[in-house]
Amino acid sequence: MTALAQAPRGTDGHRRSRGVPVPVRGLLRGLPLLPAVVLLVVFLAGPIAYCVYYAFTDMQLTGASGTHFTGLDNFTRAFGDSDFLNSVRLTLVFVIGSAVVGQNTLGLALAVLMEKASKPVRSLTNGVVIAAWVLPEVVAGYLMYAFFYDQGSLNSLLAALHLPRQNWLYTLPILAVCLANVWRGTAFSMMVFSAALNDVPRELVEAAEMDGAGPWQRLWRVTLPVIRRSILTNLMLITLQTLSVFGLIYTMTRGGPGNKSETLPVFMYQQAFQNSLIGYGTAIALVLLVVGALFSAVYIRLLRLEDE
């Protein structure tokens, strides 16, 4: 809207721009940025500032009258709270298990194998893996709930193969949500790696083959070093995505049974809205935000903007 306001002035803008002093011209040129800046400041920077402030208060859901500044209380409380430490541990398991190991490795394996597979198989794999990724998060959660349910598909499959069955969502909920996240998220890594492998110069691989390198050696010594930046970028991105997964876990287990699959986002939600401790929930949010910010900073270091 602000941009439209500029239009009448602009009709003779070309002639006038020479007469306009440089700082004013700079401002005019920056004007189209205004709506973006307003939205980002109000809806992202604002809440983050809010988050930093309220993390140091005892704000509760019921009535804002009793909000006091409490210093580091929320944080000392968190680090003495066994439930918080439990959810930190589970978050680590979830991020490392499902993203760093699961999605990253499976995505790379699929991308490498798909280069060698015949075309129909490649299209099929590509299609189903991406389908799982395109599905809305809650639907994926529901499907995975049904899959891991005691009377669900996985147990029927295991029974058919004469393997021991389990009540996955009760005995190993964190494994179930990890596998669910691998199922849902691998497509992203697969696409990143497929694009990266596409850019590996053919001559390099062929030269290694002529020198007698086997397929494994070619992968380890030639392909992986060439695409290492894509691997790092991918690791950062999937870590960030996995760190904020809420819907998938909440649909499948709601953090339970007990707190056996309660990762930080779920714990934060439950403290803030079910225990009405907004201040405490916000402190946990701040921890999450800081961890996310660190990974995000590493990620932009990796990308490096082009030099001007």
Binding site: L44, P47, V139, E209
Partner: protein, 298 residues
């Protein structure tokens, strides 16, 4: 490759290669068979949950087991195709995501233009901030956003939620849009400038028509992301009649515990259909990894 190298050499060599236990060609054929089998196995595990949903939606059995239905029925769809269960949540989703996407796309186009065309000391810090915010976990901001919305009375407001959805999609939108805009040669613009067009005219009449594929990518990506978003409306909207489909899948699952899986599958299918179609459209138009590659290379 190895075979091609051997052909010009003498017969002695060829003999030796024939005595080798497995010729490279046969080994590579075996290898390809193995690769195909592994990928087929992975595909099957990927497809099982999807197949279950498809079968459950037309089955009379209402079970979690992956089972061929006794009779195919459309009862599940009949049961959910009414205003409360399907039409209103879908319409709400459409309103939230439609307007949200519109705002994100228009605002990103406007913001991308100066970022792509003008050199300024503030450009790099601004771009770094944008890139940095694409990585921030939006989940973590939701509690402060909730407290903020309570104070300014925006809780349970569809426009408020739409604006927040738009703002949270903005960093990625601006980043993608700027990269696409960088691909439009500046020469064409200069010609229009000489003819007396101003920056906004150049943007809408010259640059945008040339980057239509880019705008399509950003639009579809943003819409798919918002359509699937559960946490934001779950926190910011309260009244049942304002909830979008993502939240109603969840309430459906908790309300009809243990019973109506056929209906829930039918609903999930209908709810997933638009994004699957949009994705197909996107990949048909631009080829699989293209959009993502553009996003990551910077």
């Amino acid at each position: 490759m190895a075979v091609a190298v051997e052909t010009p050499t003498g017969s002695a060599r060829r003999d030796r290669s024939a005595t080798r236990p497995a010729s490279p060609r046969r080994r590579s054929r075996l290898g390809r068979l193995g690769v195909n089998l592994v990928l087929l196995a992975v595909s099957v595990t990927y497809v099982l949950p999807l197949l279950w949903m498809a079968l459950a939606s037309v089955s009379n059995l209402n079970t979690f087991r992956l089972k061929w239905p006794d009779t195919f029925t459309l009862d599940n769809f009949d049961a959910i195709l009414n205003v409360d269960t399907t039409y209103r949540p879908m319409l709400n989703s459409l309103l939230l995501c439609g307007f949200g996407t519109l705002i994100t796309v228009v605002v990103s186009i406007l913001a991308a233009y100066p970022l792509s065309r003008y050199r300024s000391r503030l450009r790099r810090p601004f771009l770094y901030t944008i890139l940095f915010s694409t990585g921030l976990p939006i989940t973590a901001v939701m509690i402060p956003v909730y407290s903020m919305f309570v104070q300014v009375n925006l809780i349970d407001s569809m426009p408020g939620t739409t604006l927040f959805l738009a703002a949270s999609a903005l960093p990625f939108g601006i980043w993608l849009m700027k990269n696409f805009m960088d691909g439009v040669p500046i020469v064409l613009e200069e010609a229009a400038r000489i003819d007396g067009a101003n920056a906004m005219q150049v943007l809408w009449r010259v640059v945008l028509p040339l980057m239509r594929p880019g705008v399509t990518v950003v639009t579809i990506f943003t819409f798919i992301g918002m359509w699937g978003n559960f946490f934001v409306p779950f926190i910011l909207l309260l009244s049942p009649e304002k909830l979008p489909a993502s939240v109603s899948v969840f309430t459906f699952l908790s309300a009809h515990d243990q019973t109506q899986y056929g209906q829930l599958s039918a609903f999930s299918l209908l709810y997933s259909l638009p994004v699957v179609m949009l994705y197909l459209l996107l990949s048909r138009k631009l080829g699989g990894g293209f959009a993502l590659g553009g996003a990551l290379k910077g």
